[in-house]
Symmetry: C2
Subunit: 490 residues, 2 copies
């Protein structure tokens, strides 16, 4: 089996058996006297969390990043040990922290679960996905088998007195009803009586403040019991600058788990809310951007959302479903969280509004048209394509027979679609349709981009993220067909 | 016909014909040199707006309050001229302003539309209601006939160059599609060619900051044309402290009208959102108050709402419907704002959650039970019963055969129900059911209230607004059956 690094293109053969025992033991003896932190899962969160631990604000840790010897993760372990950080990050602190850790030799990565036997703290940062439309009659499901396996692996190896800290977004109730029973059983079999179990969700935001979103941000936590809460607090205080961002302890891990999915559901619902008002503003000839700006002056209304292409990222697209799943499957309620599920459904369909606008401007005929999408990432100033709403737009245009070119200053490829992405602004060539999909600063007031568009013959322009100012809109309007989502007054 | 002052109980006979011409002309000559402001509608907004104009921050106005010679409004005009302010207000500034205006003699009230002929500025502050369930097949409707009549009255009398400023919450599009055509026609018939028409919605909040919600708060405005926008701005700058709260001009009156209903829909939807999470928290044994407090630490999540009894007041209960009505009936869209309508429907049903909790604790049998409701107002520290959610709870309990006592420190009667309200805390007597309905400070940590409840035999206590702290809950729990809405962990 192979595991390919999408950044370097390099392939690694995955060995049949993993045995890092010697290397790990050597790593530990080289870091004698230090507490050992194992981070399970080296994705967007785990990789950054490992760096935050290796460069702890208050504490000197030996940190082991652990991930599975599987095609999607083996390369991360290899890359980390060879000097390549696996996540592209706009925040210079990430690479800085990584370099310091390599110099200090207090970080290593492995696929060997032996790591768990060495750790004083095990942080669980693996992904837990929601399957949308898994089969007929079910609109979504949560498959816990991978998560259970990860906890079983910890139960098999972890030592007496370990703190297991769950950071993964889980269905509320997971620590009490899933993690604790697994660990209790495993530890009992191994004669271990004392361990700590805490939950503290991360609020990691890839982008220019990647590390700060761990070190310099508010944290919520809870323990399965008072001792666990205390151990969790003690550890978090070494990672988070709690002098400026005090911790909040909740009364149960279920409460902490609920806080995470509730805050993301709140956000998802607020985005869904603005969707039908976008349509209304367009019908009524109103500039919804101006209206929202006016409303935001009220302190109680500061976070009303702007119109846009849609919702992306790993959290907002699934967390409301995770909560709803828990309500029914963990707490046995007949009804899920229908409103929150509905918000996800609205958001999932949002890109169709932009697609429809383009199709309308093309008099219904998109066949053979050359389309160019400015922006592939789901948010600005980040090279992150996870669940990007551009995906649906891309698929819809493709289905209609468009040929599609992609541009994003933060990407060279779109891994989920396995297609090339141009980095340069503007993209050379002539296009029939140009759609602004991501609110990257580089598109705003960009003279060269403006000139490239004005140099084309009449084309269709859709701005789905409010990139274009009134002057540019007027300029484009004189030559092209243009539509700005949420701006009915152009 | 009679018009009864619900505050004093005094009745006024409404005369067949209204002729205040002499008195008004005398008022004007007594205020020679001052600009004249007429405020149409003397409800919660108009009465306060008239006081803000009579005590303008920058300007010296003669202000005439105008309302209809109808049972629901005639008494207001009479009371104002006799020295009684018609709205009970916790804000001492209201009466202060009223007294100053009476001394300065720059305020009077009338039912005579002659007032409009004297005014340089006419501010429209009349109510525009949404009829819920008006007839089969329609879940709501907006009857514009009263609003149209009010504008027609202005068109008949107003003078050349008048500024008509709409503050009433109207369906977006109303100024352009309803008000302007009426005024254009009326003025044309009278040979008047110049007038100004602006929209600037109020954000009046009855309660301790009643006057400040006009004088010291952000304002949005727009004019039907550039001249109207300028006149509106000029006037607002004399009323609002724009040095601290700068005005926001929008590009059209429709945009300004939309801003008002959008911001209230946003709020209504955020309240509706938390409703199903309240249920989830109760099922999962989670204290949703603690969870929401933890989430609110994030600056982007500061206005996530707490659980509660329900939504009341004049705006949040109808504005989303007003917007949806406009979308279909003014802009001819096939679809209304389904999500925003749905939020209103959820909020309208919210009090049933509290009722159900009480009924469950009573093992399904409420017949003949003596219930006491602490709080009738729809919000804390205010004596305002308009569309209070306590109404639905009251009706449900009544229907089950309860006898109901009411307490509210800010009320003596509940005008909509025509029932007495006790002002003293605690209410004397013994009750089977006690429900906290409004988050008045006076209920919190109130020893006498605690003792009165502990002095009763076993009773049912439902706290629907998070009034009781953990200590009090524990105390009550030892003797009574208690349920706190949104707190699953008690």
């Amino acid at each position: 089996m192979e595991s390919k690094d999408p950044n370097s293109g390099r392939s690694y053969g995955i060995p049949e058996t993993i045995d890092d025992r010697k290397a790990l033991d050597k790593f530990i003896s080289g870091n004698a006297g230090k507490k050992v932190i194992a981070v399970q899962g080296l994705g967007f969160v785990g990789a950054a969390m490992a760096m935050a631990a290796a460069n702890a604000y208050r504490g000197d840790y030996a940190v082991i990043g652990v991930d599975l010897a599987a095609p999607e993760s083996y390369w991360k372990v290899m890359a980390l040990n060879e000097g390549q950080f696996p996540v592209k990050a706009e925040d210079p602190k990430v690479l800085e922290f990584y370099e310091v850790a390599r110099k200090k030799k207090n970080f290593t990565a492995t696929c060997d679960p032996h790591a768990y036997s060495l750790a004083d703290v095990i942080i669980v940062d693996i992904n837990l996905d929601v399957q949308k439309n898994p089969k007929k009659g079910k609109s979504f499901d949560v498959d816990l088998s991978g998560f259970r396996k990860a906890i079983v692996a910890i139960g098999k190896s972890a030592k007496e007195g370990v703190l297991v800290l769950i950071e993964t977004t889980v269905p509320p109730g997971a620590c009490e009803k899933i993690v604790k029973p697994i660990l209790d059983k495993a530890f009992q079999e191994r004669g271990i009586s004392k361990y700590f179990l805490g939950h503290s969700f991360e609020r990691v935001m890839p982008g220019p403040e990647y590390i700060d979103s761990i070190q310099n941000f508010y944290r919520v936590y809870a323990g399965i019991d008072e001792g666990s809460a205390q151990e969790t607090e003690k550890f978090l205080k070494t990672i988070v600058r709690t002098d400026q961002f005090p911790l909040t302890r909740l009364h149960s891990t279920t409460a902490s788990e609920m806080a995470k999915v509730l805050e993301n559901s709140f956000r998802a619902m607020n985005i869904a809310f603005i969707e039908e008002w976008t349509e209304f503003a367009e019908e009524a000839g109103v500039d919804l951007y101006a209206v929202v700006d006016a409303i935001r002056k009220r302190p109680t209304h500061r976070n009303i959302m702007l119109p846009g292409l849609g919702v992306g990222g790993y959290c907002l697209t699934k967390d409301p479903l995770m909560a709803s799943w828990s309500k029914k499957n963990i707490f046995g309620s007949k009804a899920g969280l229908g409103e929150s599920e509905h918000a996800v459904a609205i958001n999932d369909m949002m890109p169709k509004h932009t697609f429809d606008a383009a199709k309308r401007l093309a008099q219904g005929n998109l066949k053979g048209k050359k389309a160019l999408l400015y922006g592939v990432s789901y948010r600005s100033e980040v090279g992150d394509t996870r669940s990007t709403p551009v995906g649906m737009l891309y698929d819809l245009l493709k289905k209609e027979g468009c040929t599609i070119s992609l541009q994003d200053p933060y990407l060279t490829t779109w891994p989920e679609k396995n297609v090339k992405v141009e980095q340069r602004i503007p993209v050379e060539g002539v296009f029939d349709i140009i759609i602004f999909c991501t609110n990257h600063k580089g598109y705003r007031n960009n003279k060269a981009l403006q000139e490239s568009i004005m140099g084309m013959k009449r084309c269709i322009i859709v701005d789905s993220v409010g990139i274009l100012d009134k002057g540019t809109i007027a300029l484009f309007k004189a030559k092209h067909s243009i539509k700005v989502i949420g701006r009915g007054d152009i």
